[in-house]
Amino acid sequence: MKILLIIGDRLGEYDPLTANGVTAGLHFGDVTLLAAGPNNQKKAEQAATIKGVSEILLASHPALQKPGVENLALQINKLTPSFDIIMAVTSTFGSDLIPRVAALANCSPITGVSAISKNHALTRPINAGAVLAQSALPKTPVFLTIRPTAFPAACKTATTNAKITVIDQAYESNLSQHTTYRPSANIRPDPVAAKVVVAGGGGLQAGGSFELVEKLADRLDAAVGASRTAVDMGLASNDLQIGQTGRSIAPDLYIGLGISGAIQHLAGIKDARMIVSINSDPNAPLHGAADYALTADIFSAVPELLKK
């Protein structure tokens, strides 16, 4: 089968989770990438060294320089007849784009795929991850987003064999007009790709900041995550929200500080290898879902943990 994977875009730059998309794409067949939108040349260069990529289409028309999704969707629609599967990673970029592309081809997309079996059956979590639903691969063209945490990132190679083909037709719709990106202040690794994530919740409110979470994260070389409550309280930026409507993570170690463990939060951490919960409430649901549960006040426990 011929696969077109759209290179992920994060605030106008290359999204490294594209490499996870390649791993998923290789389950089906030959993977061609599309580099489009702002910085497409640079995106193509960054993606060219992903192992397994056979070709990169470079869409360079000025209409695609605007970050709006509408022109990009039209461009992909013109490429659809040449491919069996059109896919992207389940990121805010992919989730914005793929359903639009699918509808232009009169198809329903399948979003958030977490497993691809040998016979190409697709599994996706539903009901906040309480249930996994498996379907056969529909007839082509198929439009997918795949969960980056469910597929390891494909390796990078030293040299690239990927052929770069410039396509410069574009289809202008002039619909959304970009204004600005405001990157979040997070300077730590992306929680989706991180091996260790320290997440903070409503329990941090008494301290008025996320400092405790950040200190432990720095000590463990970890990414920072947050519950929705912590984001709503203004303690953490929105892109750090973990859960059903935030991001799904799969680190080797997740430590939840002052997080109750609502169903919607648990949905995002189910695939963590080891879960540690520190909560003053012995009955916090996260304690029930954890591998290790410590009932303690985070404002005394974390400083003690940090002591050498």
């Binding site: 539903i126 249930v131 639903a133 591998d291």
Partner: protein
């Protein structure tokens, strides 16, 4: 300006969904005892639409759903929350997202709507596909994951919550917006409004009248429970946690 808010009903998301373990039948999510509620993101969408009407930017707010009879009680809730009209396109099977999007498209054209506010995802199946699909079918602009919305003079200025930060975007109307929870805090239905809603009509419209043939969703061949996690180990001191983290190589 007329506004359309597509809403769907979902099993109350604060209650855990279990998978049935009747050995004689294939496993299935057990939803029997879970009451239906308006999808939380659609409540946010409805609130935003009602706020726009209260600010006299919108003239009429219509909620529309493609769903079974059992959704009618919650259609009334939508009326009590401030919708002017509630229209249901009857459908008693698991319908495909494309059919849903086609119905919403046709209905929006019929109503000459200028703005469609959808939820970013249904929390039942976590797809998040209908909003952008409706925008595509109509050839309108879209702004997904919106946490702030301003309408001025045929333009929507929005703040989108995206990976890595915030995306500020302006799009011309007509357009499709999908909501993030931080867009607003939905109101509660007041008792007088609940009483009033009881007397408002629930409209019905057949998909055929919109020129849409409803197609079934992709078939699920198997439902599975996620792999079980090992039982929890309760630890009694920070020292013990330190030892565990050191032994596993996370803490030196």
């Amino acid at each position: 300006m007329k506004l359309i808010v597509p809403i769907k009903m979902v099993p109350n998301p604060t209650l855990p969904v279990r998978i049935s373990r009747d050995a004689t039948k294939p496993p299935k999510p057990d939803l029997k005892n879970i009451p239906l509620v308006i999808n939380p993101f659609d409540e946010t969408a409805l609130e935003e639409a009602v706020l726009l009407r209260e600010a006299q930017i919108a003239s009429q707010v219509t909620v529309v759903c493609i769903g079974p009879d059992s959704w009618e009680a919650e259609m009334r809730t939508a009326l009590a929350l401030g919708a002017d009209r509630a229209v249901r396109i009857p459908c008693d099977f698991q319908v495909s997202p494309l059919s849903v999007a086609q119905c919403i498209k046709a209905f929006s054209i019929l109503e000459a709507a200028q703005l469609i506010i959808c939820g970013r995802q249904g929390v039942d199946a976590d797809r998040g596909s209908v909003g952008p699909m409706v925008a595509a079918l109509l050839g309108w602009g879209q702004a997904t994951f919106v946490s702030q919305l301003k309408i001025t003079d045929k333009t929507a200025t929005v703040q989108r919550e995206v990976d890595g930060g915030i995306h500020d975007l302006t799009i011309p109307l007509p357009a499709v917006i999908t909501t993030d929870l931080r867009l607003n805090t939905p109101r509660y239905a007041s008792l007088p409004n609940i009483m009033l809603a009881r007397r408002k009509p629930l409209e019905k419209l057949a998909a055929q009248e919109l020129g849409v043939e409803l197609a079934a969703d992709i078939e699920v061949i198997q439902f599975l429970a996620p792999p079980p996690r090992p039982p929890v180990t309760r630890i009694n001191s920070v020292a013990e946690l330190k030892t565990i983290l050191s032994q596993k190589g996370y803490l030196s």
